[in-house]
Symmetry: C2
Subunit: 320 residues, 2 copies
């Protein structure tokens, strides 16, 4: 099971009662933060999920509303007693910006490892000690606890979207194991994903495993115009968190000019990507009550929800 908390739902600048867009993901007791505008740490403090177990911070782009909370958060994570490294992932150019921000908090008691502009997939192993990011992998595998993919978006500065996929191991299939004549003593190893050589013969996991099962997929697309590549990238997400800077259809021109989306466009992406649920966030400070515009999205994609600060959701594997 994966838990998410939307720490803030604002774009551009923080306003009273609406922190800037940021998402916290909890998985196996460890955490990933995506985006970190000014004040993110305050929303985290209200949420009470803790600071010390944040292992990965994903940044979509270098605009202030997505990164200016970073130095304060790193400092607070330091005060929480963390000494293990943190991995920050971001688009091209992010390393220089982070180095600049870090000048203001020079005494952080842990290393910050930056992965700039990752190409391909990043496999992540999770243990009680923390999350470990492999630089790149070639394909999803059951050896990784989850996989992070990125997609280049269309904003006024380099901006990337993220998806997180937790693969689900197929069930053990005893009939298959028997019909494939797999010795019983190998069943457990094969089930756990290992290839085993036994009496000169190679046995593979698929010889004892049933059909593929869908894992958990979460996608996060901020600060972009809707581009063709998004629907494939978010395909079959259990939850698709998407920017909807403007609710009103009449703000389309503004959205085009500022390289953002209106609710209707986010819904269209959700529909094309065949996701289970759309959660809209990143609201313009000029939009007091985003809920007023929900129908603009729902008429295109029914299972749409409008974000609010510290909205929490759990996503589980579907029974199969």
């Amino acid at each position: 099971m994966l838990d998410i908390a939307l720490l803030g739902c604002g774009g551009s600048m923080p306003i009273p009662n609406r922190f800037l867009t940021s998402l916290l993901i909890k998985y196996k007791g460890r955490k990933i933060l995506i985006d970190c505008g000014e004040g993110t740490q305050v929303s985290m403090k209200i949420l009470k999920w803790g600071f010390k177990s944040i292992d990965i911070i994903c940044i979509t782009h270098r605009h202030g509303d997505h990164i200016l909370g970073l130095p304060g958060l790193l400092s607070t994570i330091g005060n929480s007693g963390r000494t293990k490294p943190i991995t920050i992932i971001g688009p091209r150019g992010i390393e220089a910006i982070i180095k600049g921000l870090k000048l203001a908090v020079p005494n952080i008691p842990f290393q910050v490892e930056i992965i700039e502009d990752p190409k391909g997939l990043l496999g992540v192993k999770v243990s009680s000690e923390g999350m470990k990011v492999k630089k790149t992998i070639h394909e999803e595998s059951y050896n990784d606890d989850f996989v992070i993919s990125t997609l280049e978006l269309d904003h006024s500065v380099p901006c990337i979207g993220y998806s997180f996929y937790i693969p689900r191991r197929p069930k053990f299939n005893i009939d298959k194991a028997i019909s494939n004549e797999v010795p019983k003593e190998l069943w457990k190893k094969l089930q756990s994903g290992e290839v085993v050589i036994y009496e000169g013969k190679s046995f593979e996991p698929k010889m004892v495993l049933g059909k593929e099962r869908k894992g958990i997929k979460l996608s996060y697309i901020m600060d972009t115009r809707p581009i063709d590549t998004i629907s494939g990238f978010i395909r079959n997400s259990d939850l698709f968190i998407c920017e909807g800077t403007y609710g009103d259809d009449e703000d389309l021109e503004k959205a085009i000019k500022n390289k953002h989306m209106i609710f209707r466009e986010a819904a269209q992406l959700a529909y094309e990507g065949d996701v289970d649920e759309l959660l809209i966030t990143h609201f313009s400070p000029a939009m007091d009550e985003p809920e007023l515009y929900i129908e603009n999205a729902k008429k295109i994609f029914y299972n749409t929800n409008i974000g609010h600060d510290r909205l929490i959701k759990s996503i589980s594997f579907k029974d199969e």
Copy 2:
């Protein structure tokens, strides 16, 4: 008249319902901000005094709780339509930190002029167009609308205190003008502070002005141990805003270790400096209700108040 608003009262890190230490000063429709921790702009937004008319930002030191709100605030001031330069004053080393933070907000539509480690006095002229800081002046004069002084404090990094003095022109004294045989046509010019040469003779303002009158003095001392030079620096302040990170006398050891003060020490400075009022702020996040410790200060300096976010005060010239 001078108005102040305490934007936040927290030290170290922002917590729910307590922004980080920051002070906004309003004078003749223009504004000065002192310190700018993360979230300062949100408190300003709640206060509704506006962003565009901030002409000077004074920074006490480079710790995150005093500067990390700066890039976001500069960006928001830019969005407010400001194009005129802003002057930032701070201790040695501040320029490099500000340059680092500014990397994250590269498109600010105004110049930032930095005065690092000012020695002596800074005279400021105020007009409806904005405040203009002269680099240094040698003494207070009625030609400046107010004067900023700084004092080196004793913290773990270079840290300076600030005082703001608005001089008050003496009243016109008709008896003196007559007894000094000042021609009537010169009275107005002399009253406004000009020296006038008339029929080969020099006339000075003091020939028509009465006795000296006390101006308005505001002092701001954050993040320091109490040192000998403070009482002279804050002498006769109408309002002395001082850090009191810890309320409990028993936290003295912690205060010494972390280079901060307990309430009692702030009160002792107020007493020695013979100020009119002490306002304590910059509370440790561990101290939920600073009000509980007010007696520790009051028994040494009676006119002590405990700060809270968006506390507002007006200071007027005293009738004389």
